[in-house]
């Protein structure tokens, strides 16, 4: 072996030496390829593992934490919800349609691998500025890729988020979350057990696509990335639909001992992980693998990332039934080997043993790095924000319209009208709400789902920003009437070998952990995506939080839209002079500066408990979390749903006008309440020490806001709504 052999595959000299030491000899070419993908960042988490161990992962509802294909939490009545988020950033940067489509396909397989019926997906997307034609190409390509795959397979895309910022120009983020439902006693794990049991490869044939996708995902993007387009897989949602139905039919009616999907690192990863988790070995014959073309080498078969394939282990007497079920769905099922006792992955091709490696050397042998972390220099200057240098708002009407048209705040209808968000007829609150809500057939319960991350906050203060991402996700769920249960996270960062990037990662993880503990939402799994850099520039650190919540009675859900005229509008939580990192500063003053708003987790919990209790008691007509654009934008959004206006009177109490109207202070929720319920709401808030401000009444066709008796905002709802609704599609005409 020459140094270029391993270096070209992304392994360092030290890593190669470690391989030699681990297996007691030099690996052959095929084995080296297997190590290179299994020890890639994408598969081994070698840079992040030590930090991830600090997350809270346990809770009374957690049935499956990190380490399997997806996390699972119990929701009572013998039911459980299975969910996970994953990134497909690099593929989407070079081939947006297929990159996004296969991202969705991969996460759907992770869910049904666990025995769960996928019931919904959400997407958390980030792109550069929409005035850039390449960004528009990536944006529309990613959205149609998600639509193309999700609509065809028949899993509703019910929500998510889309942000635009120049930092994502060359490296968009495509994070996809899938949620499934299953009975607690039907959980399946990715373990190879029972010596002598057959190992079956089912679904699509193996081709030469997606070679080294995992390694591609573990490198920065640059001028050569375009040439790595062949590393992107091509999705076939029809094949996956058949695979999904066949696998669930099999798992629901017959005993499957272990099952795992083939994703990054293909057969190599599935074989080694199943054996490693089961404490077993596998004897595999590659001549039995159904291939798309003749003459594929062992290396190609083992590293191919062809989509829509699953690996399973069953008892010998079940082998026939697997073939029968898959034949009925018109799919391949090939017995490619047996489980062995020795812990060795022994792989044959043309009658010869071409690989002989301890399974655990591939899965657990990768080094665990503790990279250096240094506080980034930019924080010295970015933190400095002298509000005295910034003129306060004079025409608040105009600023509100500007913010409503800002792509980060404007309606994302252009995106979600391309998604089938209704199929399976369980979506009772679809895209555009604080959280999506699904009913559960045959039960009174409902699930609320959301994803969240304001990466501008994380950039300006990774610790606080990440804390806010968790708090806001929980707040979104609470506004729909759900109790937050658990988290899946997708941690998108730059190159971890750069100490400043790793500092961001550590700080963000610390903030997330702290918030997850306080809000009692353990992390059940997720994904780390490093190397999100193009031409040496990293994206803003973007730890996306996916969160699942439970409604005991789905009929008691709540939405953000005002429901009737004459209700009281009440703000829970306090407003401070906090403009750092706000959408207002970025949009109206072109500044990404200051510190993000502060977050007091005790206050956050109190506000959330109050609103959740109020919704459960039926006190509220609407509830909406205050986020980008602050109070004025939140009020406008509450008016849009049913086109009901509001007359609001605010007291400035020494605050700047822009802070009061557009500041993004945390732990605030805007609610509307019928007059007869107002005293109960105020009492409930007082019991929890939550400050309340009765701001005015709903009604009319205008949003009118007075500050200290002065009219500041007065807009017809129809006009404001049109501005908000049409902004994004105007860019894409």
């Amino acid at each position: 072996m020459r140094p270029e052999d391993w270096r070209n595959l992304g392994l360092t000299d030290e890593e190669f030496q470690l391989i030699v030491k681990t297996i007691g000899r030099e690996p052959n070419h095929v084995e080296l390829g297997m190590f290179s993908v299994m020890w890639s960042e994408h598969c081994s988490y070698k840079h992040s593992k030590a930090v991830l161990r600090t997350f809270p992962t346990e809770g009374e509802r957690v049935l499956q934490g990190p380490g399997e294909n997806a996390g699972i939490v119990g929701i009572g009545d013998g039911l459980a919800v299975c969910f996970k988020i994953e990134s497909h950033n690099h593929p989407s940067a070079v081939e947006p349609y297929q990159g996004a489509a296969t991202g969705l396909g991969g996460i759907i397989r992770d869910i049904f691998t666990m025995g769960a019926r996928p019931i919904a997906s959400l997407d958390s997307l980030r792109f550069g500025s929409l005035d850039d034609p390449r960004v528009r190409y990536l944006f529309s390509g990613v959205v149609s890729g998600i639509a193309g795959y999700g609509n065809c397979i028949g899993i509703p895309t019910v929500g998510g988020e889309v942000y635009f910022d120049p930092c994502y120009r060359g490296n968009p983020l495509v994070n996809v979350l899938c949620v499934g439902l299953l009975e607690v006693d039907k959980i399946k794990l990715g373990r190879a057990s029972g010596v002598g049991n057959p190992v079956l490869l089912v679904g699509a044939r193996t081709g030469r696509d997606g070679m080294h996708g995992a390694s591609f995902a573990s490198d920065e993007l640059n001028e050569t990335s375009e040439q790595k387009r062949p590393a992107v897989q091509v999705g076939d949602p029809f094949m996956e639909k058949l695979l999904l139905e066949a696998c669930l039919e099999l798992m629901n009616n017959h005993e499957v001992l272990g099952i795992q999907d083939l994703g990054a690192a293909g057969l190599t990863c599935a074989l080694s992980e199943m054996a490693s988790r089961g404490g077993t070995g596998l004897d595999i014959d590659l001549d039995k693998v159904p291939c798309r073309e003749e003459g594929m080498t062992a290396y190609e078969i083992l590293l191919s990332e062809s989509q829509e394939r699953m690996l399973m282990v069953v008892a010998p007497e079940q082998e026939a039934v697997v073939h029968e079920v898959f034949a009925r769905w018109g799919l391949n099922a090939a017995t490619i080997g047996r489980v062995t006792a020795d812990g060795i992955l022994r792989i044959r091709k043309d009658g010869e043993v071409v690989v002989e490696l301890p399974a655990k050397s591939l899965t657990d042998g990768a080094p665990v790095y503790h990279p250096a972390a240094v506080k980034p220099a930019y924080l010295e200057t970015s933190a400095v924000l002298d509000l005295k240098q910034i003129p306060d708002v004079t025409d608040a009407n105009q600023v509100l319209l500007e913010l409503l048209a800002a792509p980060n705040i404007a309606s994302k209808e252009w995106v979600w009208r391309q998604y089938d968000y209704m199929v399976r007829t369980c979506t009772v609150e679809g895209p555009g709400s604080d959280a999506a809500v699904l009913r559960i057939r045959g039960s009174k319960k409902g699930l609320a789902l959301t994803t969240d991350c304001n990466s501008r906050y994380v950039y300006l203060d990774p610790y606080t920003g990440a804390k806010i991402a968790v708090a806001e996700a929980a707040r979104n769920l609470v506004c729909s009437g759900a109790e937050p249960l658990a988290v899946t996270d997708c941690l998108n960062f730059g190159n971890p070998d750069k100490p400043e990037i790793f500092w961001q990662f550590k700080e963000a993880a610390k903030g997330m952990s702290e918030a997850c503990r306080a809000l009692k939402t353990p992390v059940t799994g997720g994904n780390v995506s490093f190397y999100n850099e193009s031409y040496g520039e990293a994206i803003y650190p973007t730890p996306v939080v996916g969160m699942v919540g439970l409604l005991e009675d789905v009929e008691k859900r709540c939405t953000q839209a005002f429901k009737t005229a004459g209700d009281y509008v009440v703000l829970l939580g306090e407003t401070y002079d906090e403009l750092g990192g706000s959408e207002y500063l970025a949009t109206c003053h072109q500044l990404v500066k200051g510190l993000p708003p502060q977050l007091d987790l005790a206050k956050e919990c109190a506000v959330q408990q109050t609103v959740l209790a109020a919704i459960r008691q039926g006190l509220l007509h609407s509830a909406h979390d205050l986020a980008e654009g602050g109070l004025a934008v939140a009020l406008a959004e509450c008016c849009f749903g049913n086109e009901i206006g509001a007359q609001i009177e605010l007291q400035s109490q020494g605050l700047r006008l822009d802070s009061l109207l557009f500041g993004e202070s945390q732990s605030r929720i805007l609610v509307s309440v019928q007059a007869e319920h107002l005293p109960s709401l105020l009492q409930l808030a007082a019991e929890n020490n939550v400050p309340t401000f009765t701001l005015g009444r709903t009604g009319g066709e205008r949003l009118q806001i007075q500050v200290d008796g002065q009219p500041r905002i007065d807009l017809p709802i129809a006009e404001a709504k049109a501005t908000w609704r049409e902004a994004i599609q105007c860019f894409l005409k």
Partner: protein, 233 residues
């Protein structure tokens, strides 16, 4: 009244149609696998939405050759009630049971949204229970729902009262702005001359309960039930 929901590989609204019949309409219902060549004992067949065989060719073009389709065609020719929804409509058109064709939406994108439907003919098995002047709120979810027929056939459809639904405003006005996909004269659903086969792009099975935002779709199924009960008495 017994319903059958045909399942092609790639159907994905079969569950929703089944749920509509079993839980909302509360009538017996069975799935029919695409490979079944003989079907018997059904009073109404539903061809559900989805992407039959992946629809990588023209939508419905492969499904029409499914073994089950021969029986569906025979059933329809004998006067049996057949309703094709979305992909089911596309398949009925491909199978020659309904006139016209379904092109790509003029916006060239998939569209998932609520639409309002003006009922053009109440004298069919599918519409008789719908209150007069009621505009139906029923969603669409398709990329290829742009209905086309040649001008002569269109005249025939009009003459025979085969145009059943048109996209309209919430007030029931048929306007270009209310047309979500470019269909000729806002046509959302048509039936055959004998009025026992209906194809429609909107999804009535997604609008059967108030929790889903509209229960108007149920009216189509109660019409079918009423018609069938009328035939029996």
């Amino acid at each position: 009244m017994k319903f059958g929901v045909v399942v092609f590989p790639g159907s994905n609204c079969d569950l929703d149609a089944y749920h509509m019949i079993q839980d909302v309409l509360q009538q017996p219902v069975e799935y029919l696998w695409h490979q079944e060549e003989k079907i018997a004992g059904f009073d109404c067949l539903i061809l559900p939405g989805g992407f039959s065989y992946g629809d990588y060719l023209r939508c419905g073009a492969i499904a029409r050759f499914s073994p089950v389709m021969k029986s569906v065609v025979d059933f329809a020719r004998q006067g049996g009630l057949v309703i094709g929804i979305c992909n089911g409509f596309q398949i009925l058109v491909e199978a020659g049971l309904l006139p016209g064709a379904l092109y790509r939406n003029t916006c060239l994108q998939f569209r998932c949204q609520d639409t309002y439907l003006k009922v053009e003919n109440y004298d069919t098995p599918f519409t008789r229970a719908i209150p007069r002047e009621r505009v139906l709120k029923i969603p669409i979810a398709h990329g290829e729902g742009n209905y086309y027929v040649d001008p002569e056939t269109l005249q025939q459809l009009k003459k025979n009262g085969q145009i059943i639904f048109r996209y309209a405003t919430a007030e029931g006005e048929v306007t270009p702005a209310a047309n979500p996909n470019g269909s000729v004269e806002n046509i959302a659903g048509v039936c055959n001359e004998r009025k026992n086969v209906l194809g429609m792009m909107p999804h009535p099975e997604r609008a059967g309960e108030p929790a889903l935002g509209s229960a108007d779709g149920k009216l189509i199924f109660t019409s079918i039930l009423k018609y069938w009960e009328g035939c029996r008495s």
